[in-house]
């Protein structure tokens, strides 16, 4: 349970009684679904806004200019349009199971279900289920959650097999298939069971009229989607793939058997607008990408002010509850040794140290502090937010790694050990415990842990290496 805190407790399980026009799957059966898709009279297409795999990106991190996405821009876009018939979020709202992920999940649900434009359907992703089940269930109580292939005996289980909405006389039924469970929920005694996908789909379509538009939010990779979707009967009209290999949504739907397949993209950077209808030739969809770009000059890039307030409260809560410190030192150090700090490396590696000290890596912590002090850039405690800190220090979350600037100032900044690993063993026996790159991976792979497509969009390793170039010291040169 999240400890008591102002406002957070006050809006606990916020979506519980939200008014909705969605009906629950409680036996309001229509005529049995026919084997073949029934035709619909020509009518307005149903306008959907689709997203998935937010992966905890409540806001763009701000490392690079022009970053897309964020819940504040998303909800502002929805508020401005006012014309979507269905707002669908596929699931995987967070990317882990830490204290930070719990708070992020809570904040996401607060924004997506409890504000002016509540989402019509939330799917469930395996990553969501990695969170403590009590918290996950409590936050979603009363929200419009679907998961046809998940079953539980828990009284507070929030997911239903399907949800329906009447859109101008057209019934639309939406369901979700999670397809896998996190390790903690696997096994006979687990409180959640995973049903076979075909049976789950049948369960979700039970009692649906032949004229009902059928939408499936589908987790798993693309190959799974391609294998599974053609076997589903009755065929879904639209399948939304929530696959993390698809960084952006697909700009066109693809026909797969009698269904249309689109992918939702990740991190909520670009949303997918779909106009869906069923014709004599089967379902048809027109897709449009909605990149959530921000302003270059407005503080925070713009966005819905109420959502921004909720996000700010989240940031402040993370600071107040010392989540950064609580998350520290939970994981083993990469090579079993202890971090010693860059200054220690200097004695034997003066040339590398000089190169490093002139690089921006050496000032990485200072960069955060400057950004935090600039109200036009942030206005919130960046130096206490784990997602930000993780790329500006050495070894946060790892044994002997960074805890906070007050506790471990020697590990602030991107020092030697960020790439080469903890150095205590090397210090004791340099020849016997040589340090390479962490995990033995190529430098380019290591760099993109932080310099990814979103945080460093112009990152090209071959160019950026020149800015931090360093090599062996004279005493390290191999003998001629």
């Amino acid at each position: 349970m999240i400890p008591c805190r102002p406002l957070a407790v006050a809006v606990f399980c916020l979506a519980l009684t939200a008014a909705t026009s969605l009906t629950q799957c409680t036996g309001e059966a229509g005529p049995a679904a026919g084997a073949a898709a029934a035709l619909q009279p020509a009518g307005d297409p149903i306008r959907l806004l689709v997203s998935g795999s937010l992966l905890g990106r409540l806001e763009p991190c701000g490392c690079a200019s022009g970053q897309l996405g964020g819940l504040a821009r998303r909800m502002q876009h929805i508020g401005e349009r006012r014309s979507y018939d269905l707002l669908l979020e596929g699931g995987n709202l967070v990317d882990g199971d830490t204290e930070l992920d719990v708070l992020k999940f809570y904040t996401c649900v607060q924004v997506l279900t409890g504000m002016q434009h509540p989402y019509d359907v939330l799917g469930v992703g395996p990553k969501d289920l990695s969170l403590p089940l009590d918290e996950w269930s409590a936050f979603l109580a009363g929200a419009q959650v679907v998961a046809a292939d998940l079953a539980s005996e828990r009284e507070d289980w929030p997911a239903r097999p399907w949800l329906e909405k009447d859109v101008r006389g057209q019934i639309v039924r939406v369901t979700s298939l999670t397809l896998s469970l996190p390790p903690a929920l696997q096994g006979e005694a687990a409180p959640v069971r995973l049903l076979p996908p075909l049976a789950a789909w049948q369960r979700a379509m039970d009692g649906a009229a032949a004229t009902t538009l059928r939408i499936l939010l589908l987790h798993g990779d693309e190959a799974t989607a391609r294998a599974l979707v053609p076997t589903l009967r009755p065929a879904p009209d639209l399948v939304v793939g929530v696959d993390q290999d698809h960084v952006e949504p697909t700009p066109r739907s693809e026909r797969l058997g009698d269904s249309l397949l689109v992918f939702a993209g990740i991190r909520g950077r670009v949303l997918l607008e779909v106009s869906l209808t069923r014709t004599a030739e089967g379902p048809r969809a027109a897709c449009e990408l909605v990149p959530l770009a921000g302003s270059k000059t407005l503080p925070g890039g713009g966005g819905d002010p109420d959502v921004k307030a909720v996000l700010l409260a989240h940031r402040e809560q993370v600071k107040q509850e010392k989540v950064l410190e609580r998350m520290a030192r939970r994981l083993p150090a990469p090579n079993g040794a202890a971090y010693v700090g860059t200054e220690t490396c200097r004695a034997c590696h003066p040339q590398a140290y000089d190169a490093w000290s002139q690089s921006r890596h050496a000032k990485a912590w200072e960069t955060l502090e400057i950004a935090e002090a600039d109200p036009k850039r942030y206005g919130w405690p960046v130096t206490h937010y784990p997602d930000c800190v993780g790329c500006h220090v050495v070894g946060h979350r790892e044994a002997t790694g960074f805890v906070s600037f007050a506790d471990t100032p020697q590990l602030a900044g991107v020092g030697c050990e960020r790439c080469h690993g903890p150095g205590s063993d090397h210090l004791l026996n340099p020849a016997g415990n040589r340090l390479g790159l962490l995990g033995g991976v190529a430098a380019s792979v290591l760099c993109v842990q932080c310099h990814d497509f979103e945080q460093s969009p112009d990152f090209v390793y071959a160019e950026k290496w020149q800015a931090i170039r360093h090599g062996r010291e004279p005493h390290q040169q191999p003998p001629k």
Binding site: M1, C4, R5, P6, L7, A8, V9, A10, V11, F12, C13, L14, L16, T17, G66, L68, M75, Q76, I78, G79, E80, Q110, G114, D134, A138, A141, D221, E222, A223, R226, A227, D245, V247, E248, T250, R252, E254, R255, P291, A293, S295, K296, T297, L298, G302, D304, P305, D306, A309, V310, V441, A442, S444, F453, P457, D458, V460, Y461, A462, W465
Partner: protein, 373 residues
Amino acid sequence: MRATPWIAALLPFVACGETPPRPPAARPLAPPPSLAHDFGVIPHGSSRQHDFLLDLAALEGEWVALHVHLDCSCGRAQLLLRAADGQERPVDGRPSADNRPRPGEQLVARIVIDTAEREAVDLPATTSRGQVVLQSLADASGRHRQHLPLLLHFGVDAPVVLQPFAALDLDRVPTCRTGEAWTTLRGDEGHPQVRFVAVETSDPALDAVLEPADGHTLLRVRCRPTTVGNHRALVGVRTDLPDDYTVRLPVTWKVVPELEALPMAKLSFRADLGREQTQAEAHAQFLVLTDHDATRTAEFVLRQLVDDAGEDARAAFAVDFAPVPGQPRQCRLHVRYLGGHPDGFRGRMVIARPDTETPQLAIDLVAFPSRKP
């Protein structure tokens, strides 16, 4: 499959799906020059186009291009097949042989950088990325797609300088007030004599005026609140620059009711509902109420507290209002459970001002029983 040299060079960038990981190159190569293009510095308001000619014949097997992703929000991409006579047909995104170039056709990735919708601010030379998504015709699963990286170099030059904002956000505008924001316009060093000759808005709820000032022009925008919710409009400021260059500023605002509960009109908490809560237990169960009407003092009373069935439930809760220091228009609404609903409570409160029935503010109230350990 034997990869051709250039696709092999690209693999470190493009691994996707369940393709087995390949050993990364010691130093990945930059994308081939043919897949990078410098659009130069684009005058704001105009667009530039470049056609990348893609030769997939160099790849072993039969590949089709499905679509193009661009990182840049002002970029548009289209895949086309161009015949020798210049006729073009679009690629429809299916992994189908129909989307292979026919004899004499060339595959073209047409990239347009359109700055018209961008804020009118200079953008120093920058690099944006894109990807052409390819799929082998032999791969019905789509599991082995390849992504050809594109590098787009460009900058943007706006002839005017907008300070401090190139977009305006009126933030939250209560229904009982008008919203206002301003920014300044002047020509940049290349256009010091530019004049701003007229202004118009795309929303009748929005008024915009230009006021001459020392060395610049002040643009003042006011909005009259209409429907509660988010709004967006464009303000266009015409200049005397060639081609009738018009500065377009997006304006956003959110109309909110005059009585508000923050962060939202809902208060939920979990407690032992078998007994009365202590003051300490209930200290965090509050919302912040705001009365935006500055013509009156911010005072609130509870008009109604009912359960979902409409039955009066005032006896089950103590509801108090406390001022917020330094915020004369706000107060805190505290709720403490007194008893009578051991299995949980769902209902709502109606808050109003003491002297009038309207406006009213409805707040959902939910109490969950504590879980048994």
